[in-house]
């Protein structure tokens, strides 16, 4: 793999369900290249296929056609065992509903994937403790999820996604269950991950989170229809928006 090749890519990716008149093209010929360190947001109306796409990219589901490559390896051709390893080592998932284990403390939730991957308990705990600090929740490490706010639970879930030092983090509506203040907590965390060089692909309805990305892709009916590079603007514009100067 050359240095400038995409870290995560797909080509002609398709996922269909049913057949004949009932055929649904959930993902219909998607091409995507995500560079290392890039944050890409995929937005679209409900049912446009964005979650299915994320599942295909992360090896949670198998495509009906096309290719998915992560760090040069063909994800779509992997055995179940190789896929399980991929999900453990190379990909971190963040979900809308957090999916934390209620009976485990925050730090235990974070270390769990590392323990399942066969890391020594002490190493796993050390890494989990570092991550709890990184997401700003060192003082909540011993709390059960029920004792945490929505924003804190999602930050724990993000720490868990990072425990295996994944090449890419895939997030599915990570702020979907959060109020405005908690959304800001998660946005700040994603921003710090981005600054640290973490590759992120986020599918979302939330324009706020999409606006933090380097690139925003709109999806409709299973296909990409528009792409925006969201690089800088001017603060002067914001002044006008706030009513400080004429339009």
């Amino acid at each position: 793999m050359t240095e400038d090749a995409a870290l995560l890519s797909c080509c002609g990716l398709r996922k269909t369900y049913g057949k004949d008149a009932g055929l649904v093209r959930a993902v219909d010929g998607v091409d995507l290249d995500v560079a290392a360190g890039e944050t890409v947001a995929i937005m679209g109306p409900s049912g446009c296929g964005k979650s299915t796409l994320l599942h295909l990219l992360g090896g949670l589901d198998r495509p009906s056609g096309g290719e998915v490559r992560l760090a040069g390896s063909r994800v779509d051709q992997m055995s179940e065992r190789a896929l399980a390893r991929l999900r453990q080592d190379a990909v971190g998932f963040v979900f809308q509903a957090f999916h934390l284990m209620d009976e485990l403390t925050a730090v235990e939730n974070v270390e769990l994937p590392a323990l399942l991957a066969g890391r020594p308990a002490r190493t796993a705990r050390r890494r989990a403790t570092e991550l709890m600090e990184r997401v700003g929740l060192a003082d909540r490490a011993g709390f059960l999820p029920a004792a945490l706010s929505g924003g804190q639970r999602q930050r724990v879930a993000i720490a868990r996604a990072l425990v295996g030092e994944p090449r890419v983090v895939l997030a599915d509506e990570p702020t979907g269950n959060l109020d405005s203040a908690a959304t800001l907590e998660v946005l700040r965390l994603f921003e710090s991950l981005h600054v640290a060089g973490q590759t992120l692909v986020i599918v979302t309805h939330d324009s706020r989170i999409a606006a933090t990305a380097d690139r925003m892709i709109s999806m409709r009916d299973g296909a990409f229809i528009d792409e925006t590079r969201l690089t800088g603007g001017t603060r002067g514009d914001l002044g006008a928006l706030a009513g400080l100067e004429g339009p």
Partner: protein
Amino acid sequence: MQQEVVLALLAKEPSHGYQLRARLRQALGPLGEGMNAGQVYVTLTRLEKAGLVAAEPSAGLPDRPDRKVYELTPAGQQRVADWLGEVGWPGPAPAEFHLKLVAAAAARLADPLTIVDAQRRELLRRLRDAQRAAMAEPDGSEAGLLLEGLVLRLQADLRWLEACERHWMSRKDRS
């Protein structure tokens, strides 16, 4: 009445003033009820003076000066095309943006979804700027509160664009 709205509604076909008014009433619903009946005619007169529309007396009604048929001049067509491509915000009030989509679809001048996409790109850039500025403010800062206001307004605009997208997508599916 915004001149470009009247121009764009004329893009589909030459029309009488009363037809334009009816079209506006249909597109605006209750919001159009407060519209002064003379507004469209005032706008049409201005547009005629500016050389953006041409008026011809309607055949069969030569003695009724208000029964003119208006049509776009080439300069008027150019103005409409420029307007459809504009993405300023909050420059256009919601009604103007809405009528832009209605007129573009009716005259098949542009795909409403393309206009929605262009506007969304623009709003997302502004949202990104506002949000970055908001995140850089310390907790409890007064400037942060103002920026939060901008972020929330932009978000509301973007949600409305999603509704526009759904509406014009379903129209497309039906046609």
